[in-house]
Symmetry: C2
Subunit: 300 residues, 2 copies
């Protein structure tokens, strides 16, 4: 079924122990869309400034991503991020962040996208997330991401967003900050009390954890021996997860588990190269093969 994502589109400069890439296309909506498009057509909503390179419309190649909702805004500048993983491949240090267009009005969801059933609201101001959630006609599943900035500066608004969504995806540090619980199981249970039916806590190289009702699901990361650039891993994880979910027609615990494993596998491709290089080098067949391999790796 139709999958809509709205999130950031950025121009990244990334340094890792394996090199540096300047002014490459990035952002949560880009990674998410590419990752999800291995499973289903994707509707992308996001905004860039006049400075965005023309190639931004070609970044998905033959992947089925509808960029009708990609707005090039006159007089605005594209979001830019300069991050470094040189000290620690598992934690980005932000050298510079220029919010630019992300600090302006949200992009408009095109009329023809308003019937979307599966929605991913990538990390942005919770009020914008609420507006977008409210504008959809009959969504089946709304999942959102968030970040420290909003937990710290827009907590009441974020709590309101949490009551409008079905699932929340966030990383371990954010879960602890949001709930003030150090233990992640306790943190996950606290998040469930705030509204969502399920919560996925991403732990980077240490895998992920999901709680829904009384159910707990835990996965290690895919044991990757090649980690070149972790940028976009979390968004690719969410993309793989939502991409698979949107093809299943139900959100049972069993389906969610398989979806998280697909997210894990897709993210393992993202980190194997800079920018979108890892995703560009894979396809659905390779993903399915690695998914089966991953199932064997964790099976006992």
């Amino acid at each position: 079924m139709s999958l809509l994502v709205t999130g950031s589109i950025g121009i990244d400069t990334v340094e890792t122990p394996f090199g540096k890439r300047e002014n490459v296309i990035g952002g949560s909506a880009i990674y998410f869309s590419y990752a999800a498009s291995f499973f289903t057509p994707v509707r992308l909503v996001g905004a860039v400034g006049e400075d965005a390179p023309g190639e931004i419309f070609k970044v998905f190649g033959d992947q089925d991503v509808d960029t009708t909702g990609l707005e090039v805004r006159k007089g605005s500048k594209t979001f830019r991020w300069h991050g470094s993983y040189v000290k620690d491949l598992n934690e980005a240090v932000s050298v510079q962040t220029d919010l630019n267009i992300l600090a302006e009005a949200a992009p408009k969801i095109p009329e023809k996208f308003l019937d979307s059933k599966y929605i991913f609201l990538a990390n942005t101001h919770p009020v914008l997330q609420q507006q977008m959630a409210a504008s959809l006609k009959k969504p089946k599943l709304i999942v959102a991401d968030t970040m420290n900035l909003w937990i710290n500066t827009a907590r009441p608004e974020l709590l309101k967003t949490l009551k409008m969504i079905d699932g929340l995806v966030l990383n371990d540090g954010e879960a602890r900050l949001l709930t003030e619980k150090k233990n992640l199981i306790e943190a996950a249970r606290e998040v469930l009390k705030m509204g969502p039916k399920f919560v996925v806590i991403k732990k980077g190289e240490h895998g992920c954890l999901m709680c829904s009702g009384d159910h707990i699901f835990a996965l290690p990361a895919y044991p990757a021996d090649t980690v070149i650039d972790p940028t976009g891993a979390g968004d690719s994880f969410a993309g793989g997860m939502m991409g698979y979910l949107s093809t299943q027609g139900n959100v049972s615990m069993a389906t969610l588990k398989r979806a998280l494993a697909f997210g894990t596998v897709v993210a393992s491709y993202t980190i194997a190269d800079f920018s979108l290089g890892g995703l560009k080098a894979t396809d659905r067949e390779k993903i399915d093969h690695r998914w089966t391999q991953f199932k064997q790796i964790v099976d006992f």
Copy 2:
């Protein structure tokens, strides 16, 4: 089949955010023996000083641990460790370590234990590990642990030990130090080149990783909402793993995987209380039940 463990026996003082316990019985061989005894009779070899409390012989209660090899050495003092997890439940800060008897001659393996088939050489000087390994008549499986101290100060001896054993169990920091590889998959492969047929890398709250030949196995930790005192978790993990292995008659990849899951489950009891409290509160039935639950938690 017969399982022998040799390792430290200590008197611990432990502080965690949940309280402090002074002069409680601890040490790698104690935790290992208790954990393994849920699966099989255990033969314990270790030494304490004259200062050891008499209760040390009663610490295992009704568990089947043969303490014939527990030497009370005249004129010596028991190993003592004072650790704190107050700042971070996942990393012990050693407030004080008095090696005492651990810096003296190794305990002697009783004649009647020399036919043991399954051997766990808990962390001690690699030369002592070699001596003990060499003294055994016909061991079927020798697994060892090690630590930073020996990697840094007795590397050539440790490399010799690695050629005498079948399996190595160590934590992520130790694996990186030993192999100078930051990526844990690469580190595991390097360890295999040093001799062992399999290597288990413990990652604390993040689970474990095993490599053997071209096979990889990864597990998250049991998602525990109660963590009171992590002391002994790694030794309990090894005890559960070796205890189960020694009952199976083979060391296939499938058996090893199940053994690691049992180790994970037994460790989840250890961390739920101070000292041996968590292990004393469980039994084989509860362990089996949680193992089945754990299988569901990671299954997709």
